[in-house]
């Protein structure tokens, strides 16, 4: 029993095994220890310097700015970046297979990785609080608002960590590396921008939650980042899961419920049309992107729960089976649902402009277009999701290049040649020579065409699913 005596019970059994493993490794990692110590040293130095010049009126504001910037860099940039290799290192080391063979589901593996990183970020938050309290000494501080700000930064960090952990399961280095790195650059500039300009004051004002709008804004922000973060974790789980594990159905059900509930609340609150469209688009976009980029492995284990429920179950399966064929049907369902919700707004007929609908159609088309290309080249690509994301980025970059070109020219009619890229249609709205009504018609035609082709491909693919269902029925 010598080994047993060496085994310290540093973590209780009720914690997730994955979290225990990650915490054991993470708390010993140089990256965490360095960030932790450097942050403490910097904040200590800044507070000492500020204390020396405590007579200055701006000392308190400077301390707030410095705390915000360094804390944000630590938890919004460095901590999420540590998630980049979270799953890819396990995949490379063949250890994902070993974990899948235990009782850990893919979602528990991904969630364990995420909670351990978020737990370490929470430790950083805990170390910030004393400095925040000390900063109160310098005066001119809304303690509650700054505590809410710290909480918001922490929650955003958790969501960003979910994104990097989720993307880290991708086989494409471009997706799991370049996207987070590009995000990091943008975020670093934003943090310095907000931190050392008047922007921080505005953010603190919003975090004071004094008006109903501010409270609603903060609440919606929290819900949206939670929704997007969950989608990212679910994506990571899907990418590492064996074929017998189905994550798509739950993901789609949650998206559907989120859209119905949020849409319902916004309709009842008689929200502005553009807010309704924006929120529904944000909710639908990740669900559609993932649904159209899933591989189409539908195996008996996954079909069985649907087939057991008879015709209704099989019908539901057409929308909720994992894989892009059911994903296409699900996309149609979401689009239909969002349209219905839109019409439920009081006086709906008078509240929408053609350009608002065009923008929504452009965003939908922006997802259908790479979705269609991914399905057409699907057999040749290693990972559909990576292909989808890279095509989406390429389509966005292409639109930006066209925008720069078009802005230097007086005649922009050539943009019609690129109307097959739905993002170009939303770009064309910037110039008055393109009629809103014509752009709306173009958007409907392009989206309709892409969706029709997707539907035809999906119907072909459903043949395989029908065979699986028949085999299960015959059992």
């Amino acid at each position: 029993m010598s080994a047993v005596s060496q085994l310290r019970d540093d973590f209780p059994d009720r914690l997730s095994p994955m979290m225990v493993k990650e915490l054991r490794q993470g708390l010993r990692a140089k990256a965490f220890v360095t960030v932790f110590l450097v942050l403490q040293a910097l904040l200590g130095l800044i507070l000492l310097a500020a204390s020396a010049g405590a007579s200055s009126d701006r000392a308190g504001t400077v301390v707030s700015q410095v705390i915000f910037v360094f804390f944000s860099l630590a938890v919004l940039v460095i901590q999420p970046l540590r998630g980049i290799g979270a799953l890819s290192s396990e995949i490379k080391g063949n250890t994902i297979d070993l974990m899948v063979l235990t009782r850990l589901s893919s979602l528990r593996i991904v969630a364990g990785k995420w909670t351990a990183l978020v737990g370490q970020s929470a430790l950083l938050v805990a170390t910030i609080i004393p400095y925040l309290i000390l900063r109160y000494y310098f005066g001119g501080m809304n303690l509650f608002a700054e505590l809410v700000l710290v909480l918001m930064v922490f929650l955003l960090s958790a969501a960003l960590t979910a994104v990097t952990v989720g993307l880290s399961a991708s086989s494409s280095i471009l997706v799991r590396g370049l996207i987070p790195l590009a995000g990091t650059v943008a975020l670093t500039f934003s943090i310095f921008g907000v931190g050392f300009s008047g922007g921080l004051k505005d953010v603190i004002r919003i975090c004071s939650l004094e008006s109903g709008d501010e409270a609603t804004g903060v609440g919606v922000f929290v819900l949206l980042i939670a929704y997007l973060g969950w989608h990212a974790l679910s994506l990571g789980a899907s990418l590492i899961a064996p074929h017998a594990e189905n994550h798509a159905t739950l993901r789609r059900v949650i998206s559907l419920v989120a859209i119905i509930v949020t849409g319902g609340i916004l309709v009842l609150a008689d929200a502005r049309a553009e807010i309704l469209i924006t929120v529904l688009t944000i909710l639908a976009a990740p669900a559609i992107a993932l649904a159209l980029s899933e591989p189409d492995h539908v195996i008996p284990t996954v079909c069985r729960p649907f087939v057991k429920r008879g015709f209704a179950g099989r019908l539901a399966g057409r929308f909720f089976y994992p894989g892009w064929p059911a994903g296409v049907a699900f996309t149609g369902l979401l689009a239909l649902l969002c349209t219905l919700i839109g019409f439920l707004l009081p006086n709906a007929g008078d509240r929408y402009d053609a350009d608002e609908i065009s923008v929504a159609l452009s965003f939908l088309g922006a997802l259908l277009f790479p979705g269609l290309l991914t399905i057409l080249v699907g057999k040749k690509v290693k990972e559909r999701f990576a292909c989808f994301v890279l095509l989406l980025i390429a389509s966005g970059v292409f639109t930006l290049v066209l925008a720069m070109l078009a802005s230097t020219l007086s005649d922009r009619e050539f943009l019609w040649l690129f109307a097959w890229n739905p993002l170009v249609l939303s770009l064309m709205q910037e110039w008055p020579e393109f009629s809103d009504d014509l752009l709306l018609v173009a958007g409907v035609v392009v989206n309709g065409l892409y969706f029709l082709i997707l539907l035809l491909k999906a119907l072909q693919a459903f043949r395989t699913i029908r065979e699986t269902e028949r085999a299960l029925l015959a059992e």
Partner: protein
């Protein structure tokens, strides 16, 4: 009921036919060696059995449980040891095993007990506090074996466990496998080192280009059986060695395989020793001055190459050639 049963298993990756109609059974409590060149389909077959991949067509069962339909049940029965697995940074050997024990659902005292037993069995106790990524290849393989044994599986599937090990580590691993076999575990093991498999295994499966080309006992192969009912003999004569091949051409059920300095290798299409004695008697009667006539003792590498050679020359066929699938539906098993 067999511990492992694979029937008409196909696995296609696009146009690549990794596994092409494989069928075999491995009885409970036996050690079966799985032999084939790189890319022959060994790892794919093993991964399907370990529920880590799925077949394009066909069935695979572990202790009678279908690996596609009931992967969770199968996982409780198998221990999987891949050819290569990474170890974690900043994690000791003890913590590594503790993590997997937790992941397998062991709690408290039972978890500590299980980790301790496995560490003692694999002789990892002295390495308990060493970081798992600082272990030698041999220690890493012992750690991998320990992890695979944590839940006391009935069947161990080991993919190239001896690859890259030094001779001492190989001997240690072989010893552990022998102990496990004595305990009644079914072991399905692939390796390139055929001589070692021959010592450990009750039966050998040879796979080539996704098809099983031989399934039989290691001793048969060593004694010169070709797995197709024939026996190989080495014949040496006093005189022109060409006479042996000339003589064989005229004989039914006797095949000349290759010439040697004083004679050649021949194959007699029966395992009956009396028939072999008849052949020898006829040789002498026909004037061949036979100085040596003995059943071939080959190493397994030679046997493997021999079987592959005969298949390439069209002189032999894969075991149980299966019908080609009508369509490649990944969902049907």
């Amino acid at each position: 009921m067999s511990a492992l049963k694979v029937h008409n298993l196909y696995r296609y990756f696009g146009n690549l036919q990794a596994v092409n109609g494989v069928s075999f059974e491995v009885p409970h409590g036996s050690v079966c060696g799985f032999v084939g060149a790189n890319g022959a389909g060994k790892t794919t077959t093993m991964r399907i059995l370990a529920t880590l991949d799925y077949p394009t067509m066909g069935t695979a069962e572990v202790c009678g449980i279908n690996v596609v339909n009931h992967p969770s049940e199968v996982r409780k029965l198998i221990g999987w040891m891949p050819d290569h697995f990474g170890n974690y940074e900043h994690m000791t050997v003890l913590e590594y095993l503790d993590f997997y024990a937790r992941a397998l659902g062991y709690k408290g005292k039972e978890r500590r007990q299980r980790v301790s037993e496995v560490m003692e069995f694999t002789d990892l106790v002295p390495l308990a506090e060493r970081f798992s990524n600082k272990l030698s290849k041999g220690m890493t393989q012992r750690l991998g074996l320990g992890r695979a044994l944590l839940h006391d599986p009935q069947v161990l599937i080991m993919d190239e466990p001896a690859a890259g090990l030094d001779p001492k580590a190989r001997v240690e691993l072989k010893h552990l496998i022998r102990v496990l076999a004595k305990e009644g575990k079914t072991i399905f093991i692939s390796s390139h080192i055929l001589s070692e498999l021959g010592e450990m295994c009750d039966s050998l499966l040879f796979i080539n280009a996704g098809r099983i080309v031989h399934h039989g006992g290691a001793e048969d192969l060593k004694r010169g059986s070709d797995g197709l009912g024939g026996v190989l003999y080495d014949v040496q004569i006093n005189g022109d060695p060409q006479a042996v091949s000339d003589w064989c051409v005229l004989q039914p059920h006797v095949e000349f395989l290759e010439g040697r300095k004083h004679g050649g290798r021949i194959r007699i299409e029966t395992e009956d020793p009396a028939k072999a004695a008849d052949v020898l008697a006829r040789m002498i009667k026909d004037g061949l001055r036979v100085v040596e006539f003995h059943r071939e003792q080959r190493n397994l590498e030679d046997a493997f190459i021999d079987i592959l050679g005969r298949i390439e020359r069209g002189e032999s066929h894969p075991v149980m050639p299966p019908p080609m699938p009508q369509e490649t539906n990944p969902s049907l098993s």
